[in-house]
Amino acid sequence: MTYIAKPKFQHPGIKKNTLGYSHRDYEGKISTLCAGCGHDSITASIIEACFELSIEPHRVAKISGIGCSSKTPDYFLGNSHGFNTVHGRMPSVLTGANLANRELIYLGVSGDGDSASIGFGQFAHAIRRGVNMAYIVENNGVYGLTKGQFSATADRGSKSKKGVTNTDNAIDLVGIALQLGATYVARSFSGDKKQLVPIIAGAIQHKGAAFIDVVSPCIAFNNHAGSTKSFDYVREHNDAVNRLDVLTGRDPIEIDQDPGTVQIVEQHDGSRLALRKIDADYDPHDRLGAMTFLQKHAAQGQIVTGLLYVDPEADDLHSHLNTVERPLNRLEAADLCPGQAALDKINASLR
């Protein structure tokens, strides 16, 4: 067995929300990701957001694709149904699930490989359909489970752990989401819990397609080159009988950034991100303005974080399809079957 259950014990004095749930009620299994992975910080933020919103955990459907990020739904909301689908196909499964029961909360968790490469099409179409969901991409620019290949969000000119230079342009999922008509668009950093928690909470409460791109450093493939503790170094200097991958854990990267500032964040491999947190007076109701703002700062080498765009009047796919309020999965023969009388008329029209 490779799964690890958490003990159910809770301290009697533990903080409870308005529904009487504690943080523990929003937790899942113990993470099997590398210690220090940004994805675990995002998991913690999801737990915090759901706790603060006093969501009934079992009313959430958490759906993911394949990859490190897509493993994470196992690590939060243990009393929710989860669905680890196939690579890049989370959006279609989530769309179908949403059509079946509009009353649940849909949390889509994906990665940059999952959404920007193999699943780029499904990402785009779920967004343009306005599926009511919180779609979170845990974006680290690499394929972790297959050991460090570039993803489509990796910057041109960046180097892989094996020293290969990326010659392809990067896809900016936030820019694409804005263009496709997402009605809630944000970007954040896994270590900036102050910013990320309310962004996730807002996405969950938003009716319509909410998209969050979370920059999330990878401990395994953003490791210091030349370090004696690095993955490569350990492998090269290990005389063990097999060639197991050995990872040395790091502390997760955390930041505390004021609105309107630019903060340089050093990743595990020493590379630096310039994160610009949008100002308090930024107008998130202007889609074109958001696109311009993003482009302008991208040209300066900055990654803009914050809630970039929201349409508070947004509607969703069910509105577009004019479906009944009652979830489709609860309709039975009496609701759905027109009966023999209607069939008699149809038969008569076919003679």
């Binding site: 067995m1 490779t2 799964y3 009934e56 955990p57 079992h58 009313r59 459907a61 759906i63 739904p73 196992d74 243990g78 009393n79 929710s80 149904h81 989860g82 669905f83 680890n84 689908t85 196939v86 196909r89 279609s92 499964v93 769309t95 179908g96 699930a97 949403n98 059509l99 079946a100 029961n101 009353e103 649940l104 099409g121 499904q122 179409h125 359909r129 796919l317 069910h318 399809l321 004019n322 479906t323 009944v324 309020e325 489709l328 999965n329 609860r330 309709l331 039975e332 023969a333 759905l336 079957c337 027109p338 009966g339 023999q340 209607a342 069939l343 149809i346 038969n347 076919l350 003679r351």
Partner: protein, 616 residues
């Protein structure tokens, strides 16, 4: 003058219309078929059309058959309505000796373009339309009605019945109605005044249609989805399945809106591709809705990843596969039964899927509805295996019937109440020994019954595991479930020959009408065969019994590689020598003549040859 005596036949002949795609002839040609039906005479029409929007040749063949044979007859055309210069030579060559050629005689044709063993009937259609209509589109459209009018006189049809049909078609559109009736009489009157009417081929009123309906298989399957309780349809356009999803949309608009709010009790999404369409079906079914997609072979290829997930994670899904000629893009507008292996074992790893084989629209309706019960009961993918011949051709069949007392079988779903009672919920526990576990819908209970669905290996409680024994336990249970399905799917139907016989024939799906007729043809040659029509995979035990009871069995199917035969051999451990393949795979529907010739020749051979040599 013809050197051959002109054909003479009442209510038993084949008319073929050769047109150009996009010329608006389809409705006039269909009107002809329906008019024959209104005379009480069965018809079996077939669209033969290109994978093209406009300009390429298209044919519509109407078999007039008082005997009620609904398969394609084959063997040439008795009356050719040659309206396409591009295919003239081929069309004229396809007329049987003694047959008739009907053509637009406005422009003179060299005598070399005709045959002297057929009767040539010229009607100056273009001249008549040009002198009557000034609008080019009207000229084109009404030309079709004018030739229909002329044919009605030549075949001695009752014009009142055709007028009645036009009246029904244009009910409430008086201008269109009167202009169509006018065009009909333009052609009819011209023929009566200028030609010898009727010819040797005639329609005479009969009472052979009964209460049967005239419907396309795709339309019937769409109705089956409505009656079967499908609420989510996600699809991607592909010939020949698109009309199924479009018919579902149309029926839902009429039958599935809440009368008070006007809101839809269904959701239909035209997905971005086949991957997304089956993904939505899987997502919706996982969440407890009845969901399906429609596709054809190339779509099935794209869907196989999700089909594997549906099988292994045990999520219901219904795929209505309207087969066309493959492989690859193949012949998009030609029929075959060529996806059996691809569907039966779709996806990687050890998989087996349930296939249903309706023979006609009536069964397409019934099986489409039952597919949703089976999908939920078995928690797996169910394929409804239609083909272009059933799907896109109108066919006579018994009226569609529904039992109003029927409730949907939602399968083993553990409710909040059952969980409250303390029932042990293990998502992959085989509690009843039938291989089918209980599932819960998302959102069922605050603390019990949630689980993580994944395509990776897990134990009986849905916990991720790569233990070999745990994996084997799971896949063995899946096999047990597949065995359970044997007794749940529609059983084969057996019909014995009038005389005791050592030989049998197995067939399925759209081959059925041709087989019904072929049996009669074989009997007339002294060959008697017991018949078994397979209606589903996995095969019921009666398939093996049937084969065991006969010296050998012909397996008739419309593909190159004898896919049904392969499945029977593979799944039942049958000696392949005992199954003689009869294969038809040129993209046209199999005919009674083909089946009778192939089996008859083989039978003739074994009558003079020791059995062992004949089949070795």
């Amino acid at each position: 003058m013809s050197q051959q005596a002109p054909l003479s036949s009442v209510n038993d002949f084949v008319v073929r219309f050769a047109n150009v795609n996009g010329s608006g002839s389809a409705s006039a040609n269909e009107l002809f078929a329906r008019a024959v039906l209104r005379h009480g005479v069965p018809v079996s029409p077939r669209n033969i059309f290109p994978s093209n929007i406009q300009g390429l040749p298209t044919w519509y063949e109407v078999r007039v058959t008082e005997a009620g044979y609904l398969g394609a007859r084959g063997g040439g055309t008795d009356l050719m309505v040659a309206m396409n210069p591009q295919t003239w030579d081929k069309d004229v060559a396809g007329i049987v000796p003694g047959g008739y050629l009907f053509y637009d005689s406005t422009k003179p044709m060299p005598s070399t373009k005709f045959r002297d063993d057929i009767t040539v009937i010229g009607v100056p259609l273009t001249a008549i339309t040009n002198s009557t209509y000034s609008d080019p589109r009207q000229r084109q459209l009404f030309k079709n009605i004018i030739y229909l009018g002329a044919l009605s006189a030549l075949l001695d049809m009752d014009p009142k019945l055709i007028e009645q049909l036009i009246g029904e078609q244009y009910k409430g559109k008086e201008k269109l109605l009167s202009s169509n009736v006018h065009a009909l009489h333009l052609g009819r009157d011209w023929a009566l005044q200028n030609l010898k009417c009727p010819i040797g081929l005639r329609i005479r009123k009969a009472d052979k249609v009964g209460d049967r309906i005239f419907i396309e298989g795709n339309n019937a399957a769409a109705l089956g989805a409505v009656y079967g309780g499908a609420t989510v349809c996600a699809w991607y356009p592909i010939t020949p399945s698109s009309s199924l999803a479009e018919a579902f949309t149309s029926h839902c608009k009429k039958l599935r809106h809440d009368p008070e709010t006007g809101q839809a009790k269904y959701a239909i999404v035209q997905a971005e591709d086949e991957l997304a369409s089956i993904g939505m079906v899987v997502g919706a079914s996982w969440n407890g809705a009845r969901a399906f997609t429609t596709t054809s072979g190339p779509g099935v290829s794209l869907m196989t990843e999700f089909i594997g997930l549906s099988y292994f994670a045990e999520i219901p899904a219904v795929i209505m596969n309207v087969q066309r000629a493959g492989p690859s893009t193949g012949m998009p507008t030609r029929t075959q039964q060529c996806d059996l292996i691809a569907c039966a074992y779709a996806s990687h790893g050890d998989t087996k899927h349930v296939l249903l084989f309706p023979e006609d629209p009536a069964e397409a309706f019934e099986f489409a509805a039952v597919a949703f019960d089976l999908a939920e009961r078995l928690q797996t993918t169910i394929f409804l295996m239609l083909d272009l011949d059933i799907g896109m051709n109108q066919r006579l069949c018994r009226p569609l019937k529904w039992d109003d007392a029927k409730q949907y079988d939602r399968g083993k779903v553990m409710t909040a109440e059952m969980l409250e009672e303390g029932r042990d919920f293990g998502r992959y526990l085989d509690v009843d020994g039938d291989g089918i576990p209980f599932r819960t819908y998302p959102g069922t209970h605050p603390t019990e019954g949630s689980y993580f669905t994944r395509g990776t290996s897990r134990d009986r409680y849905a916990r991720y595991s790569e233990e070999g024994a745990v994996y084997a336990d799971n896949v063995q249970r899946l096999l047990r479930k597949f065995q359970t399905a044997q007794d749940m799917v529609p059983r084969p139907l057996q019909a014995n020959a009038a005389k005791p016989t050592k030989y049998g024939v197995i067939y399925f799906g759209s081959t059925a009408p041709a087989m019904d007729e072929a049996i009669g043809l074989l009997e007339s040659r002294g060959h008697h065969l017991d018949r078994l029509r397979i209606r589903a995979f996995p095969f019921h035990s009666s398939v093996a019994s049937f084969i065991a009871e006969h010296d050998f069995v012909y397996v008739v199917e419309q593909n190159r590689d004898a896919q049904l035969r392969q499945l029977i051999v593979n799944e039942n451990g049958i000696d392949p020598v005992r199954l003689v393949p009869i294969l038809h795979y040129d993209g046209t529907p199999i005919t009674a003549r083909f089946i009778a010739d192939q089996i008859g020749n083989h039978q003739d051979h074994i009558k003079v040859t020791p059995l062992r040599k004949a089949v070795s």
